[in-house]
Structures are given as C-alpha cells and as structure tokens.
C-alpha cells in the first residue's frame, strides 16, 4: 500500500498552550480518513500543519513524497482543500471561480476551461454556470467549493468540516460525491464532528481531544474496542432516581444527562425486563454507535 501522507509526532503550541501535542497519522492511497473531535480539539491546526501553512514546533511530515513545510508548495500542486468557512470569490460567477482558482495551480486557461463542464456536472451546478456567488444556497456553495478543490485533479483532498451548516438533503449529496471520489481512488482526509458522517464515509478514524489522538481504527473497531455493544436510553422525570436504584444491577455502566440515562450493556434483556416494571419511564434500545464512543472518550461537558 502506498503511503500518501505521513505525520510523525507533530507538535504545535500557541502562547505556551499545546494545540497539537504529539500527533502521528499516516494515510494510505485511496482511503478516507476521518479526524473527529470536539471544537478546539486541534483538528484544523493539524490540517494547516499538514498543508505546510504553519511551521510545526516539532515532528516530521511528508505529503506526496515531499517534506513539509519546506516543500509544501510542490506537495500542494497535487492537493485539493475544502476549507471550513467558504471563501469563494463573491465578485465572480461560478465558472469564473473555477477558472481563477485553476490559474493558481499554473494551469492554462484552455486546460481549465476544458475541465469546467465536468466539474460543474459533478457539483450538480451546470445550470448555475454564469450565476454570481451571493445568489447560491449554502449547499451549492459547498458543492462549488468541492468542485474548486478538484480543479487540479488532486490526488489528496483535505476537507475541514465539509457539511457543517448544511440541511440533510445537501449533506447527503456531499456524502455521495465524497464516496464517488474514494471510488475513483482519491485519498481523503476529513475533519468532522458528525458521527454519522464519519461512520458512513471513513475507512479509518482517529478521535482527537486536547491536541492528542486518543483512539484510532475503523469505525467498527472503535466501537468494539471502546464500548459495550448495546445501549438502552431511558427518559423520564424519575429516570435518574431509577438509575441510582436499579441500573447498576443490570448495566455495566450508565451515564446521567439531565432527564436521560444512558445504560451501556452487553446483554440488554435483564435491563429491559426491569424497565417493564416502570411504565412511567420511556426507553430506546439500540446498538452502540460512534457517538457513544466519542462521548465516552471526550466527555459530555460543553467545549466553549
């Protein structure tokens, strides 16, 4: 398997505060790798280090065979980036945005113009070719940003929270397109805090918190390794009281969050039987998912 990117023991601090604290990641060609973490975990800084936009305080980085940041310019020739916040050129039309962006890669106008129809097709924006940016919806802007990141036919794509702020329809269309890109053999590195996005798209994931990778593996691995396979969520005014009295007997572990109790179990049957005796409590029995792992590893407290 070819390694497209390897980062070893990356460090970056701002004002004495470690933002990236010993991160090592390697990406294989054709895989989709997800970097998950709460806000402020250091995901965006990690991406900026990988692109050579900031100097690391320590560590080694190679991207597409080039040492970064020293030869980041050469590496970025074959990389596409979808940033967290839209930065399309508002004065230009959809097609002009692609043309102008392609020039930054040293492409000839004729070469870019030849690619534009396919890019617009991919982004489902063919009918918006000559429309100015401010009239596009949020989903269209994201799709155009994705098309723009593909203008140089990159081997690797960095996507920083590609679906944040989109409605479900728009999000599903982006997911479908990202899946197509992995089928074409492109390597994707995406950051997200949507667990369903990560579970659906990523071959491998790492959960990041306080600048460190705290767990890494396939979505299935992470769930199997970190958490009991079944979850029973119990809701109701007296749920917390009930949990204190009964849950410990039937659940390996439980967490109280307001009027909800999350019980983690290997076998849910005894717990479900117990719940039959409390008709005032509502409950939901489901398999454990990535969000449970994420909350277990990074805690339930707000990060603001």
């Amino acid at each position: 398997m070819t390694t497209v990117l390897s980062a070893q023991n990356l460090h970056k601090s701002y004002a004495g505060q470690a933002v990236v604290d010993g991160v090592s990641i390697s990406l294989n060609k054709g895989e989709c790798f997800g970097l998950l973490g709460p806000n402020g975990a250091g995901k965006t800084t990690t991406l900026r280090l990988m692109l050579g936009l900031i100097e690391p305080d320590g560590g080694h980085l190679r991207l597409l065979g080039h040492a970064v940041p020293r030869h980041a310019r050469e590496a970025r020739l074959r990389v596409g980036v979808v940033p967290q916040v839209d930065n399309l050129d508002p004065d230009f039309t959809v097609a002009e945005n692609l043309l102008v962006y392609g020039r930054y890669f040293g492409m000839k106008d004729s070469e870019i113009e030849a690619r534009i129809p396919a890019l617009l097709e991919f982004a489902s924006l063919a009918h918006k070719k000559d429309v100015k940016i401010p009239t596009l919806s949020g989903g269209m802007k994201r799709r155009l940003t994705l098309a723009r990141a593909l203008v140089n036919d990159p081997e690797v794509l960095f996507l920083d929270e590609p679906t944040t702020g989109l409605d479900p329809q728009a999000r599903h269309l982006i997911w479908q397109r990202l899946h197509e890109l992995t089928v074409q053999g492109k390597t994707l590195l995406l950051t997200t805090h949507f667990m369903d996005e990560a579970e659906r798209l990523c071959h491998r994931l790492a959960i990041m918190d306080n600048g460190r990778l705290i767990s890494e593996g396939s979505p299935r691995d992470l769930i199997d390794r970190n958490i009991e396979p079944q979850v029973v969520e119990v809701f109701g005014e007296r749920a917390a009281q009930w949990a204190k009295n009964h849950a410990t007997r039937h659940a390996q572990r439980f967490e109280v969050s307001g009027e909800s109790v999350f019980c983690y179990v290997t076998d849910a049957q005894p717990l479900l039987k117990e719940l039959q005796r409390h008709p005032d409590l509502r409950y939901l029995h489901r398999p454990a998912n990535l969000e449970d792992v994420f909350l277990k590893l990074t805690g339930r407290e707000m990060r603001e």
Binding site: R73, R76, P83, N87, V100
Partner: protein
C-alpha cells in the same frame, strides 16, 4: 515572533494569477472606478487651480494650475495605492478570506503580498495616467517629458502600497485605517509641496518634509511638468524605492506573523 518570519522574501512568478484575479474584479467595476480616478483629482485641480490660481502670482515661472497639476498627480497616485492596499487588501485578507483560499494552492503568502503591492501600484499607474491625459487635454503642458510621469506614478504606487500594507497587516478592523489617513496621508498632502512650495514651511517642518516620500515624488514631478529634467532625480528615486522595499519586507514579516496564528 518566530525567526522564520524574518526570512528573506521567496518570490515567484506565481504572483501573476493573483494580479490577474484583481484585474478581473476591477474590470467588473471599471466604470465607477474610472470615474472616481478622474473626478477626485479634477475637482481639486480645477477647483483650487482656477479659484486659488487667479489670486496667486506665477510660481517658479509657471502658472499655479501647472504647479498644482504636478502635485495632484503625486497625491492622487498616493491615494489610489493607499486605498487599494488598505481597504481592498484588508477585505481580501480578512472579510472575503481570499488569501486563505489562495494559500491552499501552490501559491505562498510571499506571492500574495507581492501581488497586492503590484496591483495597488497598477491602480496608481492608472490613476496617474488619467490625470496626465487630463493635463494634456487641458493644454497645461505638451512636453514629451510628461511621459516620465507614468513610471513615476508606478513608483509612487509601489512606495505607498508597501507602506499601506504594513498598516493592513496590523489593522484589527477597517476603523483602524482612519488613523493612517488622518495622521499620515493627510499631513503628507500638506507637508510635501502638493499645494504650496515646501519652502513656505518653518525650517523644522521642512526637515520633516525632506524625509517624507511624497516630497521626493513631487520633486521629480514638478520639473517634468514644466518640461525640465528633475535635479537629483536619482536621489529621489532611491528614497521612493527605499520606502517601497523596506515597506514590502516589513509588511511581509507582519503578515507572516499575523497569518501563522
């Protein structure tokens, strides 16, 4: 501040697509932009030139209108570059995140800052040439020496673009630019011989004036306007280029620091 912020500029031809980008935006707004380029200096030139000029004797052998025309070319090129480097530059760096988008490609920050400086200087050239055409049409001067005012406009543009970029690199918001215009640009207009000869100032202020770049621009422009070769031209050019190069380097260091956060 890190040591690599002070590294010498690494320039490449990749600045050119950025300059092309700015040009494409400008073309879309060209009509209103050109009207601004003509209207502002013309109002000063004709208003003050005819109004004040009729009260004034000849200035160094020329009419006040011709005297003022040389000053107007310099101050309007100064203004063009300053506005571009401050307001438009800031908008591209911060509001629109244009720089951020560009830096994700093989283009670097050094290329971006170079493109900003050259683009602002291009606007100065345009603004200088516009005034020059007006001077020619008004019949104020028909000397072939006038053509030298075009490269001068470009040089003044580079100088004030570079100085303006320092302010942009430090600005927390658009409001900050008021200080620069009120405390630097406007005093320069009054101290550097745009409207009246520097010799009219008290000796202390004459010394201050001799250190300001606009004075050196005016000292080149004024003889050219009357069809004469400017004395000490090399010295004046050196001062303007000195400001341009120093300003470029200082602004680059500040931008590197700002954008590495």
């Amino acid at each position: 501040m890190n040591s690599h912020h002070f590294a010498p500029p690494r320039l490449s031809l990749r600045f050119f697509p950025i300059w092309q980008r700015h040009l494409l935006v400008w073309k879309k707004l060209a009509a209103s932009s050109i009207i601004g380029h003509i209207a502002d200096p013309m109002i000063y030139l004709l208003g003050l030139g005819y109004g004040l000029g009729s009260l004034l004797p000849q200035m160094g052998g020329t009419s006040y209108l011709v005297f003022l025309a040389a000053g107007t070319i310099c101050y309007s090129t100064m203004n063009s570059a300053s506005f571009e480097a401050l307001y438009s530059g800031f908008s591209r760096m911060k509001e629109q995140r244009t720089w951020e988008a560009i830096m994700n490609t093989p283009v670097t920050l050094d290329d971006i800052v170079l493109a900003e400086m050259l683009w602002a200087a291009s606007k100065s050239l345009l603004s200088g040439v516009t005034v020059l055409v007006a001077v020619w049409l008004l019949g104020l001067s028909h000397s072939p020496m006038l053509l030298w005012l075009a490269p001068l406009a470009l040089m003044v543009g580079l100088c004030f673009a570079a100085m303006g970029l320092i302010v942009t690199a430090l600005a927390p918001s658009y409001d900050f630019f008021m200080y620069y215009f009120t405390l630097v640009i406007t005093p320069m207009m009054l101290l550097c011989g745009v409207f009246f000869p520097v010799e009219q100032l008290p000796p202390l202020w004459q010394n201050v004036s001799s250190a300001l770049p606009l004075t050196h621009a005016v000292n080149i422009a004024r003889p050219l306007m009357s069809g004469n070769a400017p004395p000490h031209a090399l010295l004046h050019v050196a001062v303007l280029l000195g400001y341009a190069l120093t300003g470029f380097y200082v602004s680059l260091v500040l931008f590197r620091r700002r954008l590495s956060q």
